[in-house]
Symmetry: C2
Subunit: 283 residues, 2 copies
Amino acid sequence: MEVFTGDAPGPDDLGDVAFFTVPYDRPFGTEPIPRLTGVRVVQALTAGYDHLAGLLPGDVTLCTARGLHDGSTAEHALALILAAQRELPRWTRAQDEGRWEHTHTRSLADSRVLIVGYGSIGAALDARLRACEAATVRVARRPRPGGQVLGVADLDGLLPSADIVVLITPLSIETRGLLDARRLALLPDGALVVNVGRGPVLDADAILAETMSGRLRAALDVTDPEPLPPGHPLWHSPGVIITPHVAGGAAAFYPRAEDFIAAQVRRFATGEPLRNVVREPGN
Amino acid sequence: MEVFTGDAPGPDDLGDVAFFTVPYDRPFGTEPIPRLTGVRVVQALTAGYDHLAGLLPGDVTLCTARGLHDGSTAEHALALILAAQRELPRWTRAQDEGRWEHTHTRSLADSRVLIVGYGSIGAALDARLRACEAATVRVARRPRPGGQVLGVADLDGLLPSADIVVLITPLSIETRGLLDARRLALLPDGALVVNVGRGPVLDADAILAETMSGRLRAALDVTDPEPLPPGHPLWHSPGVIITPHVAGGAAAFYPRAEDFIAAQVRRFATGEPLRNVVREPGN
């Protein structure tokens, strides 16, 4: 077995590649896939895989990086929430003008936060929010026994008392437009909508209307369309914070990702079961 | 007993006032003190009281708001740390220009954080940082038994391996200039200095020099001088985030403060011991 890490030229014949890790955060990371005619495993470095679904031949095992981004994504979601509650963009702008402008802001403490899409990232965020003295409510596709996680069917009843809603769901037929104009209208005035999942889970026209009017606030790491084009009105909508899809990839991710890939390749070489398999050959 | 809350005119004769709460966050909150000739208790709404020390007659009990700001100050310290690690000011500036500029940043997770001035605010911050998967080291004036809290005498040995240093100390003869040029020089390149205590605990010239050169970063809620005057070079020093002394006063503080004052006044009226006494009459 030979391992090519990208630091040196790759194999002469891409058809010889058995295990392919899609490079993280490079625009053309998926480009070699059609030429990998002998590939048996494709390892994504993202938790979602909607962007790979149409590219793979039928006899490939697809593995994701589920879990590896948990800390980084949860941390960025917390950073967005705190930036919105403590109005950090206001201070950045005041600083750029050399203005000492003392005023008071909202808190995260004592806020009620809905975590929509409660999985491993949601659990990592939940621990952070509880340490910040926020009250959290966990929502997943279906309610789980014990009452600690509620289902999407409960969402309409939960929105009117939420100070903050965090979307962390993957994109699917069920989640596209999950937070639409009707559901946004259920949120109280001044509520904060955070999206670190996938842009189209939040209705783009509806959040633009609700923030342009000043009724809701938003902190978005993912958008629809994405990248958000220059001149799009969301850039300058009041109370909106935008970061360019950077939640999952902060410094702590890389060493964790390297360890994980090395272990996956070792499992593949020795015939052990792979982790994070989301598609078996032929499916 | 009559209670005056500031919503209506105060007593005709300030000499009749027995219990005085210094209004929070008003420039002239201390102004009536010299006319309170009969006052027996002065209740501050700040955790520090250096600004009151010279104003009080000798026969007054002074109480602070120790504890009431813990959550708010710890939350703001965390917001500053996350803003610096995840480069939120960069995104605010990119957003103002409508630019989608994807890049990767530092993490808080896996960072080593020194908490200097480990008291009740430090404990609140510690819980938040540990939930964020950071490793914390606690430093107080003196080491405490059990080894969980180290002393200031250990600081020089701890600085070279710190990614982040947070100052939360009150201002005293011992803490003025605590983090001076010599100690800042012990920090590794790229380290972040956070100050949510009092401005002069951090040497102003030294942190300006270390950030102007790009060697260190800083996130400061308190400055020296304070307010930072227009045109001061720290406003535009690279890698510096400034907020205008707003850590302690976010929304969650006010209801907690009202409950505390009501309880103190009740204790005073019924002769129960007061909480948070930092000076007895005659001292």
